[in-house]
């Protein structure tokens, strides 16, 4: 039978999506544990989410949570850093630390038959790290050197400066790694205290996914983390929500002489992750710049050829989170790319509401491929850790598809009107200031604030 090429084949109906059952346990020491049975390959993943991170860094000690998290695999018990690494290698473990705005997330993946060894090793690292002075000094120096190297990376320079613009007076306003002054002034004693205050069972959630029953997984949790001592100290005071600051500079340029491209950020503080408008925000972002087929990427990349890719998104946090556009654009096209971007930010707020076609595409791309996100034990475990991070219900994944499918074009426009405000968006450019100054002036935002990549 010859293929009918006069039209695309119809797509069948979506298979029912069911997220694996999440079972909650609480260990004797108060540690919250969630288990998931995941039978595909004999691989097990541990995710430990600890309440703390960028937000818990005291002023002047930026980078404290990150260096503390980095220090835990520098030794435990009799093991040196090298021996810890050797122990991880012997079980083929994939070990990773991510220090986020609100949480430090440790992930360890290993073969099923090493589940107890892997979990036990993770427990040793997190609950009984050596935190030795010589390791601390070495790690701190490496982080200072890393900071220095980041000054040559336009995306890193932009990210750092943009956070400062978004959060001038809040702990969220710095990179996890901190800055030269804060890292140089840190002492081991602060790290020890940070570990004592933050790494405790009542601030943590352990997720384990693997090819075992819930009982067996809980058993593994108990054997490995059951001995983690409780602390009677109260959990540190909570950090206030963010008040959007007025009067952020409109246009900021960080000069990078001779740069081939301008690294661009445009955005402002916008929304909360657990907002009831979350599904509308997701669909709105998908139409605007959250996927390849979005207005901004189609305009800047596929129509104009200004960039390899442009996107928008929310940088979600527990508190008020930024919405931003990011792209690296050819220097000569910088001003025009900014103008085009603003036209799109403005358009979706009413002048050009999403078409029926755009709505179909945005909703479908978020929902129809959803099961794809849960193929591996690691994907499943990390997803469930997000529930703990944002206080979302265990039914979250099951409810996602119907909620997104219920979003209307009107809701998208109304979400854009409430959460996107081009008039107060900050524009940040890391680029060749001499080459782009004249065209930037034509945008009418006045003289830019000039910053150095060092700040």
């Amino acid at each position: 039978m010859r293929v009918d090429r006069s039209q695309l084949p119809a797509v069948g109906s979506d298979p029912a999506f069911k997220f694996p059952r999440i079972v909650r346990h609480t260990l004797g020491n108060g540690l919250a544990v969630r288990t998931l049975e995941h039978y595909t390959v004999p691989v097990v993943t541990f995710v430990m989410l600890i309440d703390g991170g960028v937000v818990s860094d005291p002023a002047g000690q930026e980078g404290l949570a990150a260096i503390t998290a980095d220090m835990v695999d520098e030794g435990t018990g009799d093991l040196t850093a090298i021996e810890v690494s050797e122990s991880l290698a012997q079980i083929g473990a994939d070990y990773d630390v991510d220090v986020g705005a609100d949480a430090i997330v440790f992930t360890l993946t290993t073969l099923e038959r090493f589940a107890e060894r892997g979990g036990g090793l993770l427990a040793d690292l997190l609950t009984r790290p050596s935190l030795r002075l010589e390791d601390f000094e070495r790690v701190r120096q490496m982080r200072l050197d890393r900071l220095r190297q980041l000054k040559d990376s336009p995306p890193a320079v932009a990210e750092r400066a943009f956070l400062r613009l978004m959060y001038p007076d809040h702990p969220y306003g710095h990179l996890a790694i901190g800055n030269d002054a804060s890292l140089s002034g840190l002492e081991l004693e602060r790290v020890v205290r940070c570990h004592r205050d933050i790494f405790r069972p009542n601030r943590a959630t352990l997720v384990i996914a693997g090819p075992m029953t819930h009982d067996e997984l809980r058993q593994v949790a108990d054997t490995t983390f059951g001995g983690w001592g409780t602390s009677s100290d109260p959990v540190a005071s909570t950090i206030a929500d963010v008040a959007p600051s007025a009067g952020a500079p409109r246009l900021t340029v960080i000069p990078r002489e001779g740069a081939a491209q301008s690294e661009l950020r445009i955005g402002h503080l916008s929304a909360h992750r657990n907002s009831p408008d979350y599904p509308s925000l997701l669909v709105m972002n998908a139409v605007l710049g959250g996927q390849f087929v979005s207005r901004i990427n189609l305009k800047l990349r596929e129509e104009k050829g200004f960039t390899y890719g442009a996107r928008t998104g929310f940088d979600w946090r527990r508190r008020l989170s930024p919405f931003a556009l990011q792209a690296s654009v050819h220097s000569a096209s910088t001003a025009e790319a900014i103008r085009d971007s603003f036209a799109e930010l403005e358009g979706i707020r009413g002048a050009r509401p999403p078409t029926e076609k755009e709505m179909l595409l945005a909703r479908a791309s978020l929902t129809r491929g959803y099961p794809r996100n849960f193929e591996t034990a690691q994907q499943v475990a990390r997803s469930v850790a997000q529930l703990a991070l944002y206080d979302l219900p265990d039914t979250y994944f099951e409810e996602f598809i119907p909620k997104v499918n219920a979003v209307s074009a009107d809701q998208v426009v109304s979400a854009a009107q409430r959460y996107i405000d081009p008039a107060r968006a900050s524009i940040l450019v890391v680029g060749d200031h001499h080459a782009i100054a004249d065209s930037l002036a034509s945008l009418g935002y006045g003289a830019p604030q000039l910053l150095s990549a060092d700040v």
């Binding site: 695309l8 595909t40 073969l111 050197d145 990376s153 990349r301 960039t307 390899y308 193929e375 591996t376």
Partner: protein, 440 residues
């Protein structure tokens, strides 16, 4: 259902009458199917003056085909699919991961661009994608610290008429000069069933997979097998180069020619790279970064390629430390491993990591590196998707003596390229005797 205990990748394979290889792997855990197509063409098939073309062509494959004469992203994203493609020196791949219900759509589209691309390629689409690619080059090479290093290295490792002399991204000049005629010729030469391999992995029955492959691809005309590329390269001495870049710390790169992908000693050199520079237990990390603190980081890998591989080692100087001291420390370690070989403990660790990594590789059906991609890799380069097991055995069966012999035979200090990348205006930080190299 309990999973397998040892990594394995079962499949069925058939070849259509037009020469298209079709491979199907069943995995019903998640209701998705991966569609993956490899064309056996890459920048190795380019010639001087036309560099970067294979990759630019890949971009055009997403812009439309005769019967769907607009972008490839909208219909597939609307069906809940994700898609991408990539080009390297040896091959070009394209993939979609779609809900099972959209498999027909993905196959229709892949087959349409395999058979009917050219009517949709216009001068305007070519020009736009040319600008996109020039921006990709600016973003990933020109505006990135150390972004020119690999370009400088390959330009010296390989003679000017060897297709590994240039990187897949190509030169800006050549990209700008690409013409519609080139697109037509390239498509006719390389994009046809006989030079391609299709693999399906996921929630699909094998018989149904073959039936659909026949239905969508079966009537595409067969093409002529492209001429195999012949090229060789060797170094007869050590060459030292210096490149000034917008970087804070100097970095030294060392590169050697090494055996081609899947040939003797290729796996041993891969293991050697891990043993030297992967993780805190590795020898060079331990000495250079942890103990002596000469370097901020060290890395090594065997870049396995069809026409011949290269082994690359790099280390960034710690503040105030010299590349000369780093290079000397590296040479001590290279000499030691060539003399004594790895220890039993190192080999045991390597075997444990190999087994785990092969297991991790079979966790996803699609995307870069997923099961469908691996089956196509083995089929394209070995004509044998079952090579997964052989590949695993190459690593399991590697011996300390084999690794030692590989180090001895290939990582010679009198046949390599040493590139120093130094902060602008400070050429004196390079290794002594380095000649300036220009790239762009």
């Amino acid at each position: 259902m309990r999973a397998v205990d040892s990594p394995s990748l079962p499949f069925s394979k058939q070849t259509l009458s037009n020469g298209l290889d079709v491979i199907v792997h069943e995995d019903h855990h998640v209701p998705i199917v991966a569609v993956n197509v490899w064309y056996h063409v890459g920048s190795k098939n380019e010639r001087p003056g036309r560099t970067g073309f294979a990759h630019l062509f890949e971009h055009l494959m997403f812009e439309g085909s005769e019967h769907h004469n607009s972008g490839y992203f909208p219909p597939l994203q609307q069906a809940g699919g994700v898609l991408n493609g990539s080009t390297n020196t040896d091959r070009t791949n394209y993939w979609e991961v779609v809900p099972t219900s959209a498999l027909d759509l993905a196959l229709w589209m892949e087959s349409d661009r395999m058979g009917y691309l050219l009517p949709a390629v216009t001068q305007q689409r070519l020009e736009t994608q040319r600008d996109v690619v020039l921006n990709e080059r600016r973003q990933n090479y020109e505006n990135r610290p150390y972004g020119y290093a690999l370009m400088a290295l390959t330009s010296v490792l390989y003679p000017a008429d060897h297709p590994y002399h240039w990187l897949t991204i190509g030169s800006s000049e050549d990209i700008s000069a690409a013409r519609l005629d080139d697109v037509h010729e390239f498509f006719r030469t390389y994009y046809h069933p006989g030079n391609a391999s299709l693999s399906l992995a996921g929630d699909i029955d094998t018989a149904r997979g073959f039936e659909l492959a026949e239905r969508y691809f079966g009537d595409l005309p067969a093409g002529r097998a492209p001429e195999p590329v012949q090229a060789s390269a060797a170094l007869d001495r050590e060459q030292r180069l210096v490149l000034e870049d917008r970087v804070q710390m100097p970095r030294v790169y060392m590169a050697w020619h090494s055996p081609a992908m899947f040939s003797e000693h290729d796996a041993e050199l891969d293991l050697l790279a891990d043993l030297l520079a992967n993780g805190k237990t590795s020898r060079l990390y331990r000495t250079l970064v942890y103990e002596e603190r000469l370097a901020l980081d060290v890395s090594a890998f065997q870049s396995s390629r069809e026409l011949g591989s290269f082994f690359l080692l790099a280390a960034t100087a710690a503040p105030g430390k010299s590349l000369t001291d780093i290079a000397a420390a590296v040479d001590v370690e290279l000499e030691r491993v060539a003399d004594e070989g790895p220890s039993d403990a190192e080999m045991e660790r390597a075997r444990a990591q190999t087994e785990a990594h092969f297991m991790y590789r079979i966790q996803t059906v699609g995307g870069f590196g997923g099961k469908s991609d691996q089956l196509n890799a083995y089929n394209t380069f070995r004509r044998d998707p079952a090579f997964f097991a052989t590949d695993l055995a190459r690593y399991r069966d590697a011996t300390a003596a084999g690794v030692r012999d590989a180090a001895r035979a290939y990582l010679r200090c009198d046949q390599r390229v040493m590139l120093s990348v130094v902060p602008r205006g400070q050429p004196a930080l390079a290794l002594s005797g380095s000649n300036p190299v220009t790239v762009g």
